[in-house]
Every structure is written in C-alpha cells, then in structure tokens.
C-alpha cells in the first residue's frame, strides 16, 4: 500500500463513520454518538497529518501496519451498518487509529 492509497482508505473509513454519525438512531444515543464523533475527529486529524507526512512506504513496518489497517477496515465493513454492534465498531476504529498513530510517529 502506498501513502496515497492509505489516505484514500482512511477517507473511505471516514465516509462510513459519517453515515453512522448521521443516523438519527445513533444521534439519539448521545454518549455513543459522542464517542464515535471524537474518533471521527481524531481520524480526520490523522488523515490531514498523513497528507503532509514524509513516509517511507517501502519500509517493512509501514507495510505491516497498513496490512493491519486493511484487515481492520474489512472487519469494520462487516459491522458498520449494524448499530447494535456499536461497541465493536468503536473498537475496530480505535485499532485503525492506533496503527495510524504508529505510522505517523515513525514519520518525520
């Protein structure tokens, strides 16, 4: 995966989160909504930082981390439409965010 592909993959994840956040069912659960919204803000900041980061895309750890992110995005796609699985959605997004943090920490 390249840096540009990662930016796009995070963009796609943000789109899925936005659909969830715009759902009145979740809006009417303020605590859960706030939790997902806080994660959306963090992931959005990470995407902005990623656009302006110097990444060694051929680095082995970058490839490992992006592999994990791709895996987590696949898991997210399976549960994102089911608001009954909101805790699972939150955990998966947290995992994507944590892997992204690792990538950004290694970037200059």
């Amino acid at each position: 995966m390249t840096q540009a592909e990662l930016v796009t993959a995070i963009g796609n994840t943000l789109t899925q989160m936005d659909d969830t956040l715009m759902d009145p069912t979740l809006i009417n659960q303020p605590a859960k909504w706030q939790q997902v919204y806080a994660m959306r803000k963090h992931l959005d900041d990470q995407q902005r930082t990623l656009v302006a980061a110097t990444i060694q895309a051929d680095d082995a750890s970058f490839q490992t981390l992006t592999g994990q992110i791709q895996q987590a995005i696949k898991q997210l796609q399976q549960v994102i439409d089911n608001l009954k699985e909101i805790d699972s959605i939150i955990n998966t997004i947290a995992q994507i965010s944590a892997d992204l943090d690792e990538i950004l920490k290694a970037a200059s």
Binding site: V7, I10, D18, L21, M22, P24, I27, R40, K41
Partner: protein, 320 residues
C-alpha cells in the same frame, strides 16, 4: 536585398515547409485542427481547475476547523485557524505552474504536429521553454524554503528532468532543426516527463481526499443539529428551516465534490500527451491510425476535465 540573400531565405522557408510536411506525414490539416483545438482547450481548463482546487485546499481546512470548534463550543483564534493550512502559496504556485508548463509543452508539440506557420511553432516552443526554465528555478527555491508538503522537495528532481528533456526538444524546434533530429529527440527525451505527470496525479488525489473528508464532516454537524433540535420540547422552527436549507445545499455540494476528483483528468491529460507524441513519431503509413487514437483520447480527456472544472468551481464558491 541581394540575390544570394533572397535565395537563402527562400531555401530556408522551403526547408521549414518540408520539415512540417514530414512531421504531418501528409495528414491534412483539417484532420488535426479540431482535435488539437479540443486538446488545447481541455489542457487550459485543467490548468485553471487544478489551480482552483489547490487554492481551495487551505480554505476547506479553515472552514472545517471553524465549524468543528463552533459545534464543540470551543475557542477560536486566527493563529489556530491558520495552523490548519496544508499548502503554502509557493507550493501552490509550483504545482499550478507545473501543470501549465506541461500544457504549454504539449501544446507546442500539437502546433508542430498540426503544421502551423513556422513563426507560431517557434513562438509556442519558446513560451513552453521559458515556462519550464522558470519552473526548474522555482522548484529549487521551493525545495530549500519553508514548505508544508514534504513532497515539495521531491519535485525538484522530476521538474529538473522534465525541464531538461523539454528544453532539448523545444530548443531543436526553435533552432529549425531537421524533422529526423526533432523526431529522435522526442523519442529519446519525452519519456522523462512521465514522472512529473505521475507525481501531480498522486498528490492531487490526497488533496482531493481531504476536500471530501472536510465536506462530509459538515454534513455530520448539520444532521446532528437537526435531529437534536427536533427532539426538543419546543423545536425552533426557524432554526429547523435554516438547517434544512443547509442540508439541501450540503447534498448538492456533495454531488459536485464527487466530480471534482482531478486524478482521472490528469491521467487523461497524460494519455492525450502520449497519443500526440505517438502521432508525431509514427511512420507515414501509421499516421491515420495514430490520429484516430489521438481523437479518442482527447475526447476522453475533454469528458474528464469538463465536469471537474464545474465541480471545482461550484464547490469553491458555495458554502452550506
């Protein structure tokens, strides 16, 4: 004027005409003119749309930050807003000028292939040559100076290679060298421009992704405000109407942003450039075939660039 001097001028004009006829490969000018005109218009439109997209890159980040802070009832300060910038004016200019130089260079090749008057061919070649020369200097300055996008430093290499390659080709045209010399030079040097096309395409994808993310974030805030307001004991009808108007505008903008992805247009620009080079390099018996391919690729280029220009222009002038 002396007779030998007049003969010299006639011989030079005759040779130039011969060069043009060779380059055209006996394909009539009327076959070239519409496709070349369409290509030049599309390249010009892309150049303007791309510049607008880059100008918009910081504005969408500022607006997004202000909206988020207001939604969270958090403080706002000019310095914090400014810190959200993703591109400096010099970085913006460098990328915008790179697209323009590529458009001018390809237009110069188009004028050559079309068999325009010699003065026009030389004038177009000189314009492109000057643009690339300035661009190469600006790239060095930008790489050494303050920049927000790390890849700015990486531009110096592809721009330098592209400027050298284009400079060699355009120099031969300016100096009225033979058809074979120009043809061989294009064949040898033109591939050096690919890296610059690719770099612009990849980078613009990332900038576009940010535009999409920030635009969608506005939707989240609008829908949340609306759905929260209707749960109040006495919803504020005026506020709900304001929100519903903004939601309608948001949805219209969403459709426009969807067509503001520059990546496909830049890829189509490169394909048109490659098809034009193929026409110039093709032997006489393949001119008609390569011209037909050029017509197809230029049509695709126009089809990509027109909605892009509409999308970019509309999204940069409208706000929810």
């Amino acid at each position: 004027m002396t007779i030998p001097r007049r003969l010299h001028i006639h011989r030079k004009t005759f040779l130039s005409l011969l060069v043009l006829l060779f380059l055209m490969g006996c394909v009539p000018d009327q076959d070239y003119t519409p496709v070349i005109t369409q290509f030049q218009q599309s390249a010009d439109t892309l150049s303007h749309a791309f510049q607008r997209l880059l100008t918009n890159a910081n504005l969408v980040e500022y607006d997004h930050y202000i909206d988020s802070q207001a939604f969270d009832h958090a403080s706002l300060s000019p310095s914090e807003i400014d810190s959200r910038a993703v591109i400096t004016p010099a970085e913006l200019k460098l990328r915008s000028d790179a697209i323009r130089a590529l458009a001018q260079y390809t237009s110069a090749l188009a004028t050559l292939a079309q068999g325009k008057e010699e003065a026009q061919i030389v004038a177009d070649a000189t314009t492109a040559s000057t643009s690339f020369s300035t661009l190469a200097t600006d790239a060095q300055t930008a790489a050494a100076g303050h920049h927000l996008i790390p890849t700015t430093a990486d531009y110096a290499g592809p721009i330098s290679s592209a400027a050298s390659a284009a400079g060699i080709i355009l120099g031969l045209i300016e100096r009225h060298r033979t058809h074979e010399e120009i043809r061989q030079s294009i064949e040898k040097n033109d591939p050096a421009l690919s890296a610059l096309f690719d770099m612009l395409g990849t980078e613009s994808q990332a900038i576009y992704e940010r535009q999409k993310s920030t635009q969608r974030a506005q939707g989240v805030l609008l829908f949340t405000d609306y759905n929260r307001e209707i749960t109040q004991a006495t919803p504020d009808k005026d506020y709900l109407l304001q929100l519903s108007d903004r939601i309608k505008q948001f949805r219209r903008n969403q459709a426009l942003v969807a067509q503001a992805d520059p990546t496909a247009a830049i890829a189509a620009f490169k394909k048109s450039h490659d098809a034009l080079v193929a026409v110039i390099l093709a032997p006489k018996d393949a001119k008609s075939r390569t011209l037909a391919a050029l017509v197809t690729t230029v049509k695709s280029f126009a089809a990509e660039v027109e909605p892009l220009a509409d999308g970019v222009q509309s999204t940069s002038s409208k706000k929810n």
